[in-house]
Symmetry: C2
Subunit: 318 residues, 2 copies
Amino acid sequence: MKVLKVGILGLGTVGGGTYTILTENKAVIEKRTGCSVEVARILDRRKKEGVPEYLYTEDPDEVIACSDIDLVVETLGGIEPATSFMLQAMEHGKHVVTANKAAVAANYQKLTETAAKNGVQFLYEASVGGGIPVLTSIQNELQGNNFLEVMGIVNGTTNYILTKMTEEGADYADVLKDAQAKGFAEADPTADVEGIDVANKLSILIALAFDKYIAPTDIPTTGISKITKADIDAAAAEGCKLKLIAHAKLMEDGTVEASVAPEKIPFAHPLAGVSNEFNAVYITGDMVDELMFYGKGAGALPTGSAIVGDIIKVAKTK
Amino acid sequence: MKVLKVGILGLGTVGGGTYTILTENKAVIEKRTGCSVEVARILDRRKKEGVPEYLYTEDPDEVIACSDIDLVVETLGGIEPATSFMLQAMEHGKHVVTANKAAVAANYQKLTETAAKNGVQFLYEASVGGGIPVLTSIQNELQGNNFLEVMGIVNGTTNYILTKMTEEGADYADVLKDAQAKGFAEADPTADVEGIDVANKLSILIALAFDKYIAPTDIPTTGISKITKADIDAAAAEGCKLKLIAHAKLMEDGTVEASVAPEKIPFAHPLAGVSNEFNAVYITGDMVDELMFYGKGAGALPTGSAIVGDIIKVAKTK
């Protein structure tokens, strides 16, 4: 049987979920691809229970420059050193799969160009909407469309907070504390609550749907930290829910208008029903009309599912 | 530039939508695929305005056996002669793309085996959920999962009727008449209202998600023609909406339990919000957890969008 050797950079939540899926679902993946996907090397200092110690290294070159590795999974997070590692892996002829929206959004052009130059695949389905297969759908089945509009609820933390504020009439600060206690929000929640994470994801969605690169720092971005109970009540009085929306729209002159901000979504709109930590991306194409993709936008196994989907794409062409 | 020559069997609603997309979005399709997709032959007696007369033929062999055609789009509908035409086209080395759920469900094994034997692609994304890219997602990005459950609202006519009965408190017979007047239901609505169309689509979903073939005629099927206002009120009293659900579940012994029947869906479930002629497929995977794909399940352009997506898949590999 053919073998695809995988190196993982960072065995945290998402890297760990990826490892779990490749291990637990090994048989079904082999059956579907005709290829054995083997984790050959892991860059991490922290050892995880159940993972053989000999797989670990603390030297990134043992993953990104090792002739034995066919594909590198980058799940370190953060823009650097993740971007440099991905570029180096591509220069060494390795396919790269990542969940890292910050790195992909910041360096989209450099990463895609380097992949093309080296004839390797660069896949990042997991970077937007976790396990929801929205990026691949935009790039494949929906390619007969001109995309007109993309609206996304793509951050679970802020959607959880807004849902609790709406359903329980609670204050922002109280819900944030509760979300932190439950692990739905980080100790420093800035990137989530100020919309920075959403802007990264919107930059990627725009690149794929509109074939234009808009840097996340160039997207007007308002988070939810100033939303009050009064704002939520005012929206409800108009028959709407407040949702943090990644919004991009093709204008008549061919430009794309982009924003990240809380928006009033009418109760009857499919996005209004997306609650708690769930994500959804709502797309309008000139031919397919309205579509919505809904699912878990974060978490070890849902996000790992998207990474493994990308790995399988490479395994099928091996 | 490379050229992909397409023949279309049947220029009705869906075939016509496909032609429109290939014509109107020709430039963007060329840009995305590096391939010119050209409609070279159309089997139909009825001429459509705006379609060059010289493209038409009344001889199926001029499409399915013509050495000049690379890919055949089958949009005749019905099991025969559609199945025979598709098989013959494959034997002649042509890729086949279809929206024909009845033919795919009835002859799934024969069609997929014949495609494999002849080294051609057989693609049928449009056969379930119209423009919603659910089949491709099951076959690609979600392949790291064992699928546990599939629930679909995959017939627009019955969903429209149930929605109107629920929202307006109207009787089945009155809503059916209204749907027929609006073109949402056919003059003979049997295949829709008795769940036969849904069983065809469920058979295809099961084949892809569970790698098992269950003939549509072997799926216990109950339609909506006996649903009364009282049934809808009783469901509402329990906090539920009645929806016609294509349902398949992986059992502990590895078998798949399948049914088509009206089911009570709790208001808070994402499927409860799928109204009117919209479709949605709700999938649970062991890793990705819950996902829902939502959009227009019928119509010339949404269904044509899925057919063109399949054509583009072939064009990209040319």
